[in-house]
């Protein structure tokens, strides 16, 4: 069974057709790299794939469930990392991740979360309100979710390398490769060249007006 199946997707915004007739079928262990210039519809496509936006026409199934009709079932095992990071500025990194784990049924102890934060270079910053961290550090806190959700089957990552330093980009690429090798499926966009030692399927979206 396909992990992600999208059929005949059409996206329209403000009377403009961003893309049409997009068909995607991804099985376990596949990586889809979506490219295109600004405004081509990469983020819109990703949001449609995870059910946050509705397509003009077309259907999306994740693990056999229609994401737009049965979101709680379809989003089991789905991890979406979008432009908005999904972390509260007033809470600390540790609190944010604890609340996120509880909301997504991820079993992770405080020690495990602190361990992931240490791995991402945030030792000593666990209890500081996120608003007091730099943009890159805030991004790391949000990315910690990739390390914590062990049972995910699909990652949808919208420009995950933004605001990260070279060292962490390499670490994230290694993490993505490891996830793919363990049978995970990834859909991602990025304006950077991807240095992953793994077969990559490419979907290019053309900007049209």
């Amino acid at each position: 069974m396909s992990v992600l199946l999208a059929q005949q997707l059409v996206c329209e915004k403000s009377d403009r057709q961003l893309f049409s007739d997009i068909n995607i079928e991804l099985s376990s262990g596949q990586l889809l790299y979506v490219t295109g210039e600004n405004g081509a519809g990469k983020t819109s496509l990703l949001r449609i794939l995870v059910g946050l936006s509705a397509p003009a026409t077309g259907k999306v199934h994740i693990n056999g469930f229609d994401i737009h009709k049965d979101m709680p079932s379809a989003s089991q095992g789905l991890l979406y990392f979008g432009h908005k990071q999904g972390i509260s500025q007033l809470l600390s990194a540790l609190e944010n991740l604890q609340f996120w784990c509880q909301q997504h049924d991820v079993k992770a102890t405080e020690e495990a979360i602190n361990g992931v934060l240490a791995e991402l270079g945030l030792t000593g910053l666990e209890d500081i309100a996120v608003k007091n961290l730099s943009a890159g550090q805030q991004r790391r806190v949000a990315l910690a979710k990739l390390w914590l959700q062990q049972d995910a089957s699909l990652w949808v990552l919208d420009e995950p390398f933004t605001a990260l330093d070279v060292h962490l980009i390499a670490e994230l690429e290694a993490k993505i490769t490891l996830f793919l090798k363990s049978g995970g499926t990834v859909v991602m966009t990025s304006h950077q060249k991807l240095s992953i030692d793994y077969p990559i399927s490419n979907l290019h979206l053309d900007y049209s007006w």
Partner: protein, 221 residues
Amino acid sequence: MVALKSVFLKDLALAYRQRAELMQPLMFFVLVITLFPLAIGPSPETLQRIGGGVIWVAAILSLLLGMERMFRDDFADGSLEQYMLSPTPLYMIVVVKVFTHWLMHIVPLFLISPLLALFLHLTFDMYVALMLTLLLGTPLISFVGAIGVALTVGLHRGGVLLALLLIPIFIPLLIFATSAIESASMLLPYHPQLAIIAALLLFSVALSPMAIAYSLKVSQN
């Protein structure tokens, strides 16, 4: 259940860290009610006659003032997207969020209301009626108001639009609540008014979570 508890605890933690913002509606409520006796004079009869209505109007306006915050931060920082993608249905999450918001805004209002009732020379019977109508009516405001908040969460400066959308909806509630307090002032039974407000509350608790969840999805789209 763990997920819903964490939404509740997260909202409590966030409210605590934004205490100043939480105080604004309460201060507005207190200021309106303390200014009224100064403006219309200290006559107990006049104050008693308008007291219930003044407290209710101030309560509605102060609740509206704080209502905009209900989903604003979650929408801005992407927490709302994560709620939508969690295994817990969104309508259950919004019930917890609306309840927490009501708790944060109404409990202080309840605590301060005996003092304000004294300012307006309310009798004990009127005070009891006021408390009962507030207890049943304010969650109704929160649940129905949350639909409007969810619809306008993506708009910048949606506060005025929100007030224009919601105030007409609250007029029946205002009429029944003030009527109950007036009946209490004449030592008449006011159970029918309370029953109608309770029915409206149950109706809104049953249906509004779906409407709020749908509105949030529309706003995200």
